[in-house]
Symmetry: C2
Subunit: 225 residues, 2 copies
């Protein structure tokens, strides 16, 4: 018996790129425009979910339903408000170095995000992602996180078994999706969740940012080949 | 022996008013203007500290010192950036109702904030604070949170014993200050910390927002007189 090199499936926002707080602020603005006044921490804790689930969950919290037209306006207004903030979005410390090191040591990796393709591409332009690295976006699956579909498709594109893959994410939605897929979840604090929230959602290990994960790759049993 | 009615000492930002994320964003902008590129979650976890400690702590994290002139520019730039965002700041759910109920039932209460007077007054204008309620700001003490001075002065203004007072705050800095003052700390999730972070910092009880604290005042042994 010999374990294979695991594939690593990354979330994007809050995991590789420091964009969660801009998404939070953009959702807050979009919701206020529709007269939906929600405490911001509740928006924060929903970032990374599928946009449809996000709006439905928030609707439940405010105790009123949100019709399809409003939902579409919200999704559009959020996208516009996020793009107005994108000039302040930076890669997270160590993100590029971690990805480059995985590429150098031939560890297969991919990106899977609940965001739509158009927005994800703008965010991805902050990172150097080599040709051939799979990037799976919302548009390609029926259900986004916490459903496992995005990570399942990313693993399939790599030709990797999901059960031996690591999923790296900043939100409990990534970690719940990892559990559903029977992958191992790695948490990062850079999305603004507390360590314990990520551990309770099933994180096998929690790092502060990609830089710390890079320094401690040995803890995951990822070795130079 | 009979226990007295406890005084309640409230933090302001993130506890009564939904302003933490605007402060985070304002600090991020001010820091970027000085070429200081910090992951935003690290800024988030420092909100509520004394401004001086905040800048020094961030300087340690980026591994470079911040001179006094830069620190002054940062504090000024943050204030301006926050005021540009203040039109999106709202009272937290139940904040006004909780304060009104305490006033009605003659429970003494006060507000103690690490913010300076000028900014705090703008934020306070979102709440109705009756004349005679003490509001202690940064300018009135030598050391802000996590030092206990703000809460000690607030209790003194009420003529209340700090050891029988509750301190209500959204950040670990409030709860550490409460411990130093030998008060009991109550956490609220509305500043974006995880429940466990607040509990580990010493929270006797954690509520989601002021609205939940109001519904459960009995848990604190606060009764109609």
């Amino acid at each position: 018996m010999r374990s294979s090199i695991p594939a690593i499936l990354f979330d994007l926002d809050g995991t590789l790129v420091d964009s969660v707080y801009q998404h939070v602020s953009a959702w807050h603005e979009a919701l206020l425009e529709e007269g939906i006044d929600l405490p911001i921490w509740r928006i924060h804790r929903r970032i990374g979910m599928s946009g449809g689930l996000f709006v439905r969950a928030l609707a439940r919290e405010i105790g009123r339903s949100v019709d399809a037209a409003t939902q579409q306006r919200l999704v559009r207004a959020h996208a516009q408000a996020y793009l107005r903030r994108i000039q302040h979005v930076r890669p997270l410390p160590g993100a590029q170095e971690l990805l480059s090191e995985l590429t150098r040591t031939k560890v297969p990796w991919a990106i899977a995000t609940s965001g739509g393709r158009a927005i994800a591409e703008r965010t991805l332009s902050l990172l150097q992602v080599p040709a051939g690295v799979p990037v799976v976006t919302r548009d390609e699956v029926s259900y986004a996180k916490p459903n496992p579909d995005l990570f399942l498709l990313a693993a399939e594109r790599l030709g990797a078994a999901i059960e031996t893959s690591f999923v790296v994410g900043d939100s409990i939605w990534d970690l719940l999706a990892a559990q559903r897929a029977r992958a191992l979840g790695i948490g990062v604090l850079s999305g603004g969740y507390g360590r314990n929230e990520l551990e309770l959602a099933g994180a096998y290990r929690v790092y502060s940012e990609p830089a710390e994960m890079l320094r401690r790759l040995d803890e995951l049993g990822i070795r130079e080949p």
